[in-house]
Each structure stands twice: as C-alpha cells, then as structure tokens.
Amino acid sequence: MFRSSLVCLSATLLSAALIPVALAAPPAHHLSPQLAPAAPQAAPGIEGRWELVREKSTDIDLFETLAVDIRFDGPGLTLIRTWGAGRSFRDSLALPLGGAVAHVPVTSRVFPSNVFMGLMMPVGTVRDVRAWRPDANTLRLEESFQIRGSQGESPETQTGLFTLSGDGSTLTYEASRSTRTSGPPVKYLLKRAGSAEGFVIRLEDNWEVAGKLNVQAFMISLQGIVNRSGPRVYLLYPENWPFTYVQSVYDFYRDKRNYSFRELRSVEEAIATLRKYVKGYVVWDRNVRSSLTVAFTVAGLEDAVVVSEDMIPLMERAGLKPVEDFRGKFTGWNDTKIYTWAYEKYWARCSREYIIWLGGDSGPVMKPAVADWGIFKKCFFSDLSCRVTDTSEYALSKKLLSEMKPMSLVMGWHSYAKDLEREFVRLTSSFGHRVIGLHTLPNLSFSAQIPASPGFKFTNNHHLKPGEVPVPGKKVYVTCIQTDGMGLGAWLKPGRGEIPYAWEAETNYTWMAPAMAEYFYSMATPNDFMIGCLSGPGYLYPKAVPPKLLKQLIAISREQMKELDLNVFETMDYSEGATVEGNSDLPKEIVDMYFDGMPEAIGFVNGYAPSYTFAVNNGRPFMSYDYYLSPERPEADAVADLQELARINPHRPYFELLHIRESSDVKRVKGILDKLGPEFEVVPLDVFLAMAGKDPTFKERYLVRPQKESR
C-alpha cells in the first residue's frame, strides 16, 4: 500500500539494441492492454555502420572516437574505419575475402589509434592486408606494414577481429599488434549507428504551482510526446524523488544497455532540439491548478506541450501555435465543473484502457511525473475524489471508471487533499480496474519501450529446490517483506543483501517496463527474493472486485508470475477500512480463489499492517502479517514488540511475518533482528512459508460475515 503520508509503468518502438518491440494486441490470456514483445526476429548481421561506445572501449587518444562501416559485395569486403569526428582520419579498404593479399598503398602518415605515440606510417610504402569471414558474425583482418619510430622503420603485424554480439546489437573490435605485448587488450565496443541515442533532461526540485512547476510540466509533456516516436527522452528527477532509482536506472541504460544521452539544459534548447515532434502548445492557468491537469489531457490528444503564460513567446519563436488556452477559462469553477467540461470535450478521444489520476501532492504543489505516460497513451487526466460523501466528484469518478474497459489500468494516485487511498482503490476495484501508483512514477514512456536484453531470463533467488520442505525446529522464525514495491524505499539503500529480504515486484513490468524488471533482477543478491503483488496484476482490493473479474485478474497475475519466476503472492484489502478500525481480512471464498487460481504458488501473504486471515491448503500457507515496522519505531521498542509477539504466541515453531515500511533501510532492520536473541532465526520468505505450511501453528481464520436472517 502506498500511504498518503508517503512521500507510500504506437508505433514501432526501438530498443536500446534496436530490437523492435511492437505495441501489440494483448495476448488472449492477459485480457488487458499490454505492450507485448513481438515475435523473435533474426538478428541483423555484421554489415552496417557502427559507432563507438566510448565508456566501454579502450581509450583512443587524439581522435577519441571511432566509426566502422562494413559492407559485403559478393566476394569482396569494404571496410571503412573513421577515427575521430570533427577532426578525423578515414581508412577505407576494399578487400577480397578468403585470405588473398591486398596491397594497399600508404598515403598518410597518421597512425590513428595512437596519435600520441611517436609512430608514423611511412608514406609510399605498402600495407599487405588479408581478410576472412570465418562465420556470419565474425570478420578477421591481418595487416603487415612498416612503422616508423624515432629509431627508424620496423615491421609490424596487426590483427583485427570484429565479432557481432548474439543479439546483433553490438560489435566488438579487438586489435592486437606484434609490437604491443603488455597492458590490457585493445578492445572497442561499437553499437549500430543511430541506435540507443537519447536525450536527458535534469529537473529541478521545484514543484510549486507558483514556482517552477511550469518548467517541469513542460518537460514532462515534451517527454510524453517525443517518446511516441521511440525511447528518446529520459528525465532525471531530483535526488529526493520518491522513486529512488531514477539516476541508477539511467546509469543502467547507459552502461548496460549502451545508451548514449545528450543533455538538454533548458526549455529553449529542449524545444529547439525536439521541435519536430510537437504540433502545438496548450496554455494552463497558474491561478487554477486543475487547468494543468486538463492541459495534460490536451497534450496527449494534440501532441501539444503544456506551457504557462510566460512561456508563450518562446513557443511562438519556435513556430508553435496554441491548440488550447485555459487562461481564465476555469476561473471560479469547482473540479466537478472543470472535469465535466473536459469529459464532454475530450473523453471520446481518450484511451479506455488507461486513465490517469493525477493526485498525490495537492494545493500549491503538483508532482506530475506519470503524466508522460498519460500523454503517451492519450489518457484522460483528473484528480477527482472517490469519497462517497463528495457526491458530485464521486459521481463523475464512477462515470469515468464505468466507461473504461474492465480491468483497465488506473495510473497515478488519489489526491491527498480529497480522499483516502482505500476509498480510491475500493472504487477502482469495484470495476475490476487495477491501480499502478504513484503520481510520481517517472519515465514510463521511455522505459516501456526498452525490452529486456535478448536472452535475459528472469530468475528469482529461490532458496528451496522444487518439492523441498525444510523441517522447522522449536524456534521463532522471522521473515521480512518490504512494503510498497521495489521502486520505492530501501532497494538502493544500505544493507540490502545482508539478510534475507523479500521485495514486492510490480509484475506488470513484464510488459510495461521489461528492462526495468531486468534492472532489478540483475542487481538482486542471493538474499533478495521477489514476490508478486498486490492482490492482482496491479493494486486492487479483492473483496471489492466483482468475483467473475477477480478470477480473470488472478489468472493474469499467475501468467505474470511465471514470467518473473515468482512463487509467492501478496494480497491486501482495505475496502472495508484499515486494519485498526476496519477489516482487512478475507473470506474463505476469496482465499480459495487465490489457492485455486495460482496452483504454482508455494504460499501467500496478506495485509499491510497486521491482519488476521490464516489458512493452509495442501501445505501452502496463506498468512497475514503479524507485525508492521513503522519507520518511527525505535529499535529497542521494535525488539521488544517482536519479543512480545513471540511470548504471546507460545507455540513453537512460531512464524513471525514482518512487513517493513519502505522508508526503513535493511541495515536498520538487521540492527533490530540481531538483537532478538538465540530463539529467533531470520529465514528467507520461501523457506519460512514452506515450514509454516508443514507445521502450521497458527489458527485457521477467515473473515466471517454475519448470516443474514431469513424472514
């Protein structure tokens, strides 16, 4: 659960490796809008233009960079190596394949790979060059020539080996010289020319409506529009952004996926560079905050950037024209009237599979990171209340949600000023929709278009062999699950990997942001165990979902869990209030739906704060949290809490399931667990569940509803 106090993922798409991903019709088993990878295609060959990935290549002193052009013409090869960009040296060879010697006159003294060494090619001499193509993905070159140093000429032999990567996205050029026998090997990594190139824009930490929100909103709208033509714009949010991975994922795209980014440093530079993607601008009214929310809807429908009044001259200079002007338009209107007006004007053209709730921070602040995705998908934006007593806004919320396709995705978050998370999710769940939070979810229009690396397999860190059931001792077994998903919280903070820890994986990343899923999986330590969540493929409350839809939603989750190698699933239901004053328990018929719908799952966990539903099905436990570790709880008190729970639950083994608020890092949690004493043992979640299923010392308990009296 994301709590309100918290601050609690077209056209042909190109991958970093230029592997096409198509916006496909959803697979039948998903029954929902999906970005699905296209059928595997033959990797492109070694021919073509290649550009250096400098960060992963041997340094090229003066020229700094290298481009390689490979063309085959029957039995012949044309190989052009261009060293440098502005000031450059071009070495063009036309060679027979098969090892026949080609005599190439030396016409330039430049020794391009090491200009800063006192070496030169003797002009007028001849290079003997031979080329082979041992297989389709490899090219071998051998050169013999004279080289001149300060002491005169000497013979030199140079070998070049060009090897295509398995996915066809990169080319490795290894160069060895007879005279260079020490030091690291000379190796250049090249990617296809024009691929994996993007722009990066740093956003300032100013989200005030009266401050610089206009700049951030402009950049986010520009990102959503431009990324329709491919993954081009990535935004770097401030360090304190709730999704902590923004910089780290950027590094991942650059370092692991060979992305090259050019930074755009101002609104002026951004619009000048990306002008061709934009068809106009929409002006929002700084005096009416909701006008910006409506402007985002317009931005998606019209490919228009959102601007405040003071930015108009800049847009005009860029040759853009207004498509809408909301200055003064909504003055004195309430949100019901504003969004009703927007509904009447724009709803017919908006997506029926995605909708944006641009809530969260309210009043003088707005943090609309998810808007790029909403624009990308032509969504309707609002921040309407889902509180029953807000009758007019609630009615319009219901109307919007009722006109979406079943099991649609409600992206963003509820307004902290209008309603509660549980009111929002209860209403969306009642239509079978699923929520993906938050309003601060960044860069999805970019990440959605980057597939996982070819051949990458999502492998969870299981601690049990299939069918293995460890025998529990007379101990207290403790296991930890972090709240609120992987993108928020402790993933990048100290201590991860030091103790067994489970993380709530956003299973929609399988299709919505597969490279993001790869990012997390590739970083996971053996102690990091992923689980599926939250009640379905997205956040929903099962008690509120129509039963027929719930069954379908569980089936989608099951498929996503298979893709991500997950075998534990988490549920949560605050549709009848929170743990303390409400009822977060589940009735047997719903628990059984999960047992039946996910036969591969070894267990289920339930709740956010403690909850009280417990069951076992054929050795598979359904367990609720026994403890919620709040970030404010001092360590000594938390230790006492856990010890008290172990005393108040006297039977051994006792299975103590902890839910750790994401704002506690793993180091803090370890500090608490280390003090519990010898009776306690911290175990991985899968081990915990297997033991609990074997020896369930908890009492079976379901939500029991009062029987209705018959008349």
Binding site: P610, Y612, Y627, A636, D641, E644, R647, I648, N649
Partner: protein, 180 residues
C-alpha cells in the same frame, strides 16, 4: 457508550471534593507528552488522553485515543480501589496497546480490572487481565499500570508492565488544565 461514560465522568468530576491549592490529586484530564514517553506505535496520529476520576469508593480511568482532537477509541476501567476485580464484557476487537502488533481483543470475552491506591489520591495501580487473539489463537495478557502523580501536581507518569512484554512502556502526561 462513550457518551454515557463521558456523562458519568462529568458527574463524578462535579461531585468530587475540591482540592486545595497545592493539594492537587491524580484526578483530572491528562494530555500525552510524546517527547518524554516511550514511542507508541500510533495509528493515523492517534494520541492518548487519560481521564481519572474518583467518586466515593470508586475510581474510573478512561483512556481516550484522539484523532484530530476527536475521540476515535475509548477504553474505560471502573473499579473500587482495594476491592475485588470487576469483570466487563469486551465489545471491541481493537487492542490499542500497540496498533502494529498482530494482537486483537476478543469481543464477547470477559476482562477483569482491579486497582489500588499506592498513595491515596496520588498514585494508583490498575491491573487488567484481558483475553486477546493472536495468530496462534486465544491467550491472556495481564497488564499492570502504575499511575504516579508528579511532584508539581501537573505531570503524570504511567508505567505499563505487560505480562507478555520484556520491557515496560512509560508514558508521560501533563494536566490538561496546566496548559491553559
């Protein structure tokens, strides 16, 4: 229910003998001082308030949990100091002593409360024996609460010893009137 109890407290407060200046007793309404207390696993910012009143041979201790100034949960203990334990039927599933532990009250079960003056009018001991429900089923927790009036008459220290807990919980309060 809460309204009736509040009415009772109001009557008791009206009838109690007036204390002389400097002769303050433990009776009155007490506001929580978080900075001087054990951190409580609070829920939605709920903070405790204690109302203690004596009338004749009986003492009532009411612990309210305030949410934005409104009583969101109220727990009343009514007993005769030094007398036999008084049984009451538990009506709420809430166990307010720690919101984030998997412990519920057991509606329909009986809770007993007894108490005694440790220093008449000033220091009070209240013992509660309460059935609770946990993941492993039903069990009983005995809680001893020591209410000690501060030397200035305007502070109250509540020390809670639960039979299940290795360490006490210490909560400090200040007299509501003292803030005015």
């Amino acid at each position: 229910m809460t309204g009736r109890l509040m009415w009772l407290v109001a009557v008791i407060l009206t009838l109690r003998p007036g204390g002389a200046p400097g002769g303050a007793t433990i009776e009155g309404t007490w506001n929580f001082v978080p900075a001087m207390s054990t951190e409580i696993a609070t829920w939605k910012g709920r903070l405790p308030e204690i109302v203690i009143a004596a009338s004749g041979s009986r003492v009532s201790v009411i612990q309210n949990w305030l949410e934005r100034g409104r009583v969101a949960y109220s727990d009343t203990s009514l007993f005769a100091p030094g007398g036999a334990p008084v049984g009451t039927v538990i009506r709420s599933v809430e166990w307010p002593d720690n919101w984030f532990m998997g412990v519920l009250s057991s509606p329909g079960s009986e809770r007993t409360v007894s108490g005694s003056w440790q220093a008449p009018g000033n220091d009070l001991r209240v013992i509660t024996v309460q059935p609770v429900v946990t993941s492993q089923g039903k069990t009983t927790v005995t809680t001893t609460r020591e209410y000690v009036l501060g030397g200035d008459g305007n502070s109250l220290t509540l020390t809670e010893h639960r039979s299940s807990r290795p360490t006490p919980v210490v909560l400090v309060f200040e007299r509501k009137e003292a803030k005015r």
